[in-house]
């Protein structure tokens, strides 16, 4: 499984504009870390489409792309629509970023 994630916008949008997305491959992770990631991904896959509030300003948005077995799933959230599961996944990814 390969997970790619990117952050956009926010107060520091000018800085983020030039930053490339980050990526992690479970093949390159220890087995327990790979299992943790798989669990977090499964929990973050939204059961319903996210509602995008139009009035949030300076909120960052996040795109996490999960490629697994030929399938690709894209998860998106913003600071104003963050779920605990999405936040946990993002947090884990940032902590393990290469």
């Amino acid at each position: 499984m390969k997970v790619t994630w990117a952050t956009h916008g926010g107060q520091a949008a000018g800085i983020r504009l030039s930053l490339p997305p980050k990526a992690l491959d479970t093949d390159a992770l220890p087995a327990n870390a790979a299992a943790e990631l798989a669990e977090l991904v499964a929990a973050a896959v939204p059961v319903a489409e996210e509602e995008r509030p139009s009035r949030a300003r300076d909120a960052m948005s996040y795109t996490i792309t999960v490629e697994d077995g030929g399938r690709s799933t894209v998860l998106t959230r913003s600071d104003a629509t963050m779920t605990p599961a999405f936040a946990a996944l993002l947090d884990w990814l940032e902590e393990h970023a290469p």
Partner: protein, 408 residues
Amino acid sequence: MTRTYTLHCIIPPHLLEKLLSSDDSEVRQVALDTMLTTARLRGERAVRASFAGAAATPGNARRTVFDCQNGVFLPLAVFARSEDGLESADDSVNRAFGGLGTTRDFYKTVFNRNSVDGRGMRLDGYVHFGRRFNNAFWDGRQMVFGDGDGRLFSDFTGCLDVIAHEWTHGVTEFTAGLDYHNQSGALNESMSDVFGSLVKQWSLKQTADQADWLIGSEIFTPGIDADALRSMKAPGHAFDNRLFGKDPQPDHMSDFVNLPDTEPGDNGGVHINSGIPNKAFFLTAMRIGGFAWEAPGLIWYESLKASHFETQFQDFANTTYRKAAELYGDDSAEQLAVLAAWQDVGIQISGILAGVARARGLAADRNGGTGRENGLATVNKQIGALTAQVTGLVRDVNALKGQVTTGG
């Protein structure tokens, strides 16, 4: 005007209702639990807030700060400080509380505006949002601040202009309601930078030439080689290092950055092209001189109130020119400063020829403004160009005369 607020909960209420009728009993139970929890939290918060603010008059821009305790779900945040409460042991709480108050006092004292909505709306701030959260935002009803990751960014409550920036997003929401895309979005961002900077200048009692005109100058950790998030004085020069690259903000319409109107494209570059109106405000303030929150701030504030959802750079420039005349008179130093400032960032006020604008701009510089030398140089160039044209015309006329004579 009455506005209705909706809670941005994790799962929208209409979906929760749908889930309540799911065939799966577990899904039904989860939906029910979520609805009950949300309702309970709403109730708790309302009771808690009213208790906390019992000594303050309701609707009097009363401040309340909540601690997210590194969570991301605002209704779960715990009460940290209110108007009648004691100072907190937490610096982030106190900084947010102080920043909300300074901004509230600025708007009240300078523009006689009673809170974000002009009607004493309560001011709710949330600190310690998420973990290593490098941002601050206005969610449509309240202000949220992260701690920063401690590696690149420090606590976002550490910058008064950043707090005032978010506060002003609320003001814009309740006045022009500038659409958060492309030019109107960049104006929205610029308003927050302009008044964010003015709040800082007001609190420090700085004149335009004493101010640093930086947004978020304390936002980076000490080891980071960057001045700030943005510079209104020199857009495009707030940072230039290996980690962040170069500040992409333009300071002139000729360098306007066309980005896609998507989240990766910063909604058409709302935080990028704001450099252009930011620079126009800076130039106006420098030309007028003195305290920037006085004439320049008032012209911008009145123009914001006279703007609307789809206002573009050109519209806003025209409005500031008109407002300057209404407030200070036609051809006043203030109006001429506005005219010259927009011209310097590549925006001609509608109905005024460039040469005339430049000549009038010179009048604005009579008292010694930063644009004086540029203005003189430009007028000299224009005179030179006109002289060359006249010389050419005389030559052409003489040549024609010669042809007529020869032909006759």
